[in-house]
């Protein structure tokens, strides 16, 4: 019985590793340094930036970007969609799956969809 329980726990935890980190956890580890703890674009790094990071709670600008564009800018960086290179590419940090989760997290922050 105990063995089965241990096995189940082990299995569950290994799935967790395979599934990667959640969008929220990745956001609060990597994104808030510039986009802010509240996602408002006012992170600790912005003071001397020539281009201010996107406010992820802003419905107007966030609904103007498709999920594919958001995926691309996270994976390949700002320059890939003709935006600032202060937004770096995160393709070596996140798996594609994790980037998709981050896009979903952005949608939750702005409470908006593309074109809404």
């Amino acid at each position: 019985m105990l063995n089965k329980l241990l096995f189940a726990i082990l299995l569950a935890s290994s799935f967790h590793v395979l599934a990667g980190e959640t969008g929220l956890d990745n956001y609060k580890t990597y994104c808030i340094q510039c986009h802010g703890m509240e996602g408002n674009g006012k992170g600790i790094n912005v003071r001397d930036m020539s281009v201010i990071p996107r406010d992820h709670t802003d419905v107007k600008s966030m609904s103007a970007r498709s999920d594919d564009e958001l995926f691309k800018v996270i994976k390949e960086g700002g320059a890939s969609i003709s935006k600032s290179n202060l937004m770096p590419p995160w393709g070596e940090t996140f798996s594609d799956e994790e980037i998709k989760d981050l896009v979903q997290h952005l949608r939750e922050l702005c409470k908006c969809k593309y074109g809404s």
């Binding site: 580890t29 340094q33 510039c34 790094n45």
Partner: protein, 233 residues
């Protein structure tokens, strides 16, 4: 009776002489004072939870990373290198104009004596699990003007977003870089820029796919501002 008392005194004198002459055990100091916050065994954090739990830079590849003379001097008079500490997310708070560093949560690094620092640095320099990564880097001789270097660092690569290039200019989530060349081996700087995740899979420094030529320019620029900052002291 008198004779045996003399013998005891002699033995004590000899013992104390021996302990003065013997060097400080660097590994013992590391184990006693450092391992609570620094990992000297590896591997680097593989999950976010492990990353958040990390209280100080990993030291298990210290011999591939640091300049020994800098370690000796810094450990005697430690000053903050990461303005927002480690993990930075634990030391920030929302403010009126945006997020700010919450200094009340930052603690100062302990100092050790010169003999301890010499012994600990010697021990740390033995920790070289990443020789292969270092061997891939070749630092070309040469320099760059401060202006061109800064343009590359700030504008072309965008590194100032997270790093201070002087005490009052740049970002706060990464370590200051105006002292990087004093602290770090040039090959480590090059290798970490080339692929931060090879050293630290969960680091919040992204791989910007910097070209070989630009990596050389970045190393040269850090050497230029490193010298300037050393002279300013």
């Amino acid at each position: 009776m008198k004779k045996s008392a003399h013998k005891v005194l002699l033995a004590i004198a000899l013992l104390s002489l021996a302990s003065t002459a013997s060097a400080v055990d660097g590994m013992a100091v590391l184990q006693k004072d450092c391992v609570a916050c620094h990992d000297i065994k590896g591997p680097a954090p593989q999950t976010l939870q492990a990353l958040w739990d990390r209280k100080g830079p990993d030291l298990f590849y210290a011999g591939n990373k640091y300049r020994q003379e800098w370690l000796v001097s810094w450990m005697q008079k430690p000053v903050r290198i990461r303005p927002a500490g480690e993990f930075y997310g634990d030391h920030i708070k929302p403010g009126a104009k945006g997020d700010e560093i919450d200094s009340s949560t930052l603690t100062n690094h302990m100092a050790i004596t010169e003999s301890e620092a010499v012994a600990v640095a010697a021990e740390l320099m033995k920790l070289k699990p990443n020789d292969e990564l270092i061997a891939k880097e070749k630092i070309e001789p040469g320099t760059i003007s401060k202006m061109m270097g800064e343009m590359n660092f700030d504008k072309f690569q965008g590194c100032m977003a997270c790093h201070l290039i002087e005490p009052e200019y740049g970002g706060f989530s990464g370590p200051e870089v105006y002292t990087a060349a004093q602290r770090l081996q040039p090959e480590f700087i090059a290798s970490f820029i080339r692929k931060p995740q090879a050293w630290d899979p969960k680091t919040w420094m992204p791989n910007k796919h910097v070209s070989d030529q630009s990596i050389q320019k970045l190393v040269q620029y850090l050497q230029v501002i490193g010298k300037e900052s050393a002279h300013a002291k």
